[in-house]
């Protein structure tokens, strides 16, 4: 008792996974996963569908064996568990779809697969023993039904208790709850969380998988976040909060370091006034974009940001309002009008609208300005390649050659190709729509660096983003849209998630002080 109190970490982890890897044809389900679970620890495990949670569970449950890596339970190594082996080792599951047999009674369900036997040739089940054995577990859980009740007559929450009683009855040292609350009504969820606390008090470790992050927040001592088969984050008790988990789960976990602009705010390059778009034909929207700045455009998805960008790029019709470029009114009837004047868009749907996946890099870059690569009307591939080589070096596009098919590049490098095609044409205004969606962490940082570099070169940058960290981390100013109009403009001093959110949902800013 005394020395256990002194120790920071549990003396010996109950479960230890190291470098566990599992691949299915064409998919890496788990790519070297490590995990420690101490006795009596409640671990929240979150991750999107397909993040590898279910594969992990299958491995722990002994349903599939890992390709490589080691599993240690209580210090004993396992190469791969079997269903029975996992149970014997003290791991119990409570599955999402309750795996109960409603044609059997409570006791039979609790002891399914390991019935107490009276022996003999026929291997008879000792029903009496079984029912007597189940009773204490039911009492511990505060259940109000008898062991011989048919499961078909129990409510969902009661059925869940049967599942947990089953876990208790195997003397489980680790109980894995897979989405246990997804079918529970709200009031009964509390009951479940109490049960989890009870398990913890008895020194039983719990892995709690749920999409209901609030419950994870309430129940867990530690949260592990899985994404694409990799552990992408681990939050200690104090760090657990909803937003952190979501960010880790969907992969916007980059801490963006703000780089101050070199030039300072320049002249107004682009001014839009009284713009009406198809999405919100009755709302006016306007903004001013200065040379050398990055203006973040925040707001909820559907607030009209993308539509504004598309109007400014000329692909959507302008219902009303004026756009001026360097003080002169311009008419943008189509994208080529915009491109001619140096207004470029890096669209949200990169694969659909940004690049042509089947063309080589060089042809993607030359596409908007083919005249520049043509001699007497014929495109000269060599010129294209020269430009492409230059872009590749400048932007650090990772590709074997400039004639590589663009579709074979990673998301980040595809985005760089989109950028390269505009940079080759001296942009005045560059609009990014969700520039880092689906791009891995490293490439994101490079894209931010490029954006800043462009701004420093005097380009006016408008960045639409739903990623709060990105907006706050990269922008010099933030305009927030709400239902088709700009609900507020924030200077750097006012940047905070709360302010952006309040404006995004249409509430006024709180008065400072």
């Amino acid at each position: 008792m005394l020395d256990s109190r002194d120790q920071e970490a549990p003396a010996r982890p109950f479960l230890k996974l190291s470098a566990v890897r599992k691949t299915y044809p064409g998919v890496v389900a788990l790519a070297g996963f490590d995990m420690l679970v101490g006795p009596g620890e409640v671990i929240g495990l979150v991750g999107e569908n397909g993040a590898g949670k279910s594969t992990l569970m299958k491995i722990l449950g002994g349903v599939t064996a890992p390709d490589s890596g080691t599993i240690e339970i209580d210090g004993a190594p396992y190469a791969g568990l079997s269903v029975g082996g996992s149970m014997k080792a003290g791991i119990a599951f409570v599955h999402q779809e309750l795996n109960l047999f409603d044609n059997l009674d409570v006791a039979a369900n609790v002891y399914i697969g390991r019935e107490p036997r009276r022996g003999g040739v026929l291997n008879l089940v000792d029903e009496k023993q079984m029912r007597a054995d189940v009773l204490p577990y039911l009492k511990r859980l505060g259940a109000n039904f008898a062991p011989n009740t048919p499961v078909a007559k129990l409510s969902l929450a009661q059925q869940q208790m049967v599942e947990i009683a089953k876990a208790l009855s195997v003397n489980a040292r680790l109980v894995i709850l897979d989405e246990p609350t997804s079918s529970l009504p709200l009031a009964e969820t509390d009951k479940l969380l109490e049960v989890i606390a009870g398990l913890k008090a008895e020194g039983i470790a719990v892995i709690f998988i749920s999409h209901r992050l609030h419950e994870i927040e309430r129940a867990s001592d530690r949260v592990l976040v899985l994404r694409d088969g990799v552990l992408v984050g681990e939050l200690a008790k104090a760090e657990i909060d909803h937003d952190r988990m979501v960010k880790l789960m969907i992969g916007r976990d980059l801490k963006v370091a703000y780089a101050a602009p070199k030039l300072g705010k320049g002249e107004v390059v682009l001014a839009a006034r009284g713009i009406r778009t198809a999405a919100y034909p009755t709302r006016d929207v306007g903004l001013e974009l200065h040379a050398g700045e990055i203006l973040g455009l925040a707001g909820l998805v559907g607030s009209g940001r993308t539509e504004l960008a598309r109007v400014l790029f000329g692909v959507d019709p302008l219902y009303a309002g004026t756009v001026t470029l360097n003080g002169e009114p311009v008419t943008l009837r189509n994208a080529s009008d915009a491109v001619e004047r140096g207004i470029f868009l890096v669209p949200e749907d990169r694969k659909g609208e940004g690049i042509l996946l089947d063309l080589p890099i060089s042809e993607n870059i030359s596409l908007p300005d083919l005249d520049a690569y043509a001699r007497s009307g014929l495109v000269v591939p060599a010129l294209e390649r020269v430009q492409a080589e230059q872009s590749r070096a400048e932007l650090g596009i990772k590709a074997p050659t400039v004639t590589t098919r663009t579709g074979s590049l990673s998301g980040g490098n595809q985005q760089k190709v989109v950028l390269a095609k505009w940079l080759a044409m001296q942009p005045k205004v560059l609009i990014f729509d969700e520039p880092t969606r689906g791009i891995d962490v490293g490439a994101k940082a490079e894209i931010y660096r490029l954006m800043r570099g462009l701004a420093d070169a005097g380009v006016a940058v408008l960045m639409i983003s739903s990623d709060m960290e990105e907006v706050i981390g990269v922008s010099d100013r933030i305009a927030v849209m709400h239902e088709g109009r700009i609900s507020g403009l924030l200077g750097r001093a006012e940047f905070s998630e709360e302010n952006v959110l309040r404006l995004a949902v249409g509430k006024p800013l709180r008065q400072a002080g």
Binding site: V63, H95, N99, F101, R117, L122, N123, L124, E127
Partner: protein, 331 residues
Amino acid sequence: MNKKDLGLLALIVVVGFVVYLRNPAFLGPQNLANTANLIGLFGLFAIGQGFVIITGGIELSAGSMIALLGVLFVDLVGAKGVPWPIAFAIVMVLGLALGLAHGLLITKLKMQPFVVTLCGLLIYRGVARGYTADATAGFPFGSEYPGLDFFVARIGGIPVSVYVLAVVAVIAWFTLHRSVFGRYLFAIGKNEEAARFSGIRTDVVVTSAYVICAGLTALAAIFFAMYTRSVQPSSQGNFYELYAIAAAVLGGFSLRGGEGSIVGVILGTILLQELQNLVNLLGIPSSLNFAVMGGVILIGVLVDQQWGVFRARRRIAEAASVREERIVSSE
């Protein structure tokens, strides 16, 4: 015995009584013994069928198996001169092997039981007819096989097959309703996936069910062969699988799996035989035999289903009244 079994029993008694009133020969010792013998024979493989149906499967090849194994048994003993205990053993082993093959095809190759056993039906009948060139297999005229009479003997006026059925039924009852294996059968029939996750080796259990079924069918095949004395490969056991399925369904088995009892399947067998007997004794044209059977199956399932609907309604009403009490008490 549950309510359903009691209902079936009552039906058997009522039908029996009505037949007796119309034709007292129904309860004559000769007729009773004969009917009992048939119940014994059909009951054996109907129980086997029950083991398969409870897992949510089906065994359509029983009739063909009875023909093939019957032909083999008679041929081994009668034409090849193999001592009958050895022939018995060979036939039993072969039956178990066929069951194993079915089980493995179903569990390992994940083929549908209907398809596998339908193929079994075609194959075994084909082999039986091909092997004998469609000639009736029988024992040489006048030959005696001491010991073989056991299969058709009567002890205390009751045919041996009834005793065998009784023993098999008791063992089967304990196996299905009281043993670990039986518990697994019910579990698998209800939710195979969940059973697997409970650490049950579902492949082994399901395969065993088919092996048990084939084993009991093989035993029945020998009894049938001895009962008919000669085996006609093209007609022996025709449609018997349907008798067995009908008996099981009448006895409360659900073709979706997970429901059923040994008592039920035996009562189902008795009822079917009683109806057959009724057709004969009451002078109903024997061609209507099938109609009576089909009608009974349809009506049996219909009643059972409507009863289920009724019960479900009552349960909803009960649940609603409980809820009402809660609301009343909280206010």
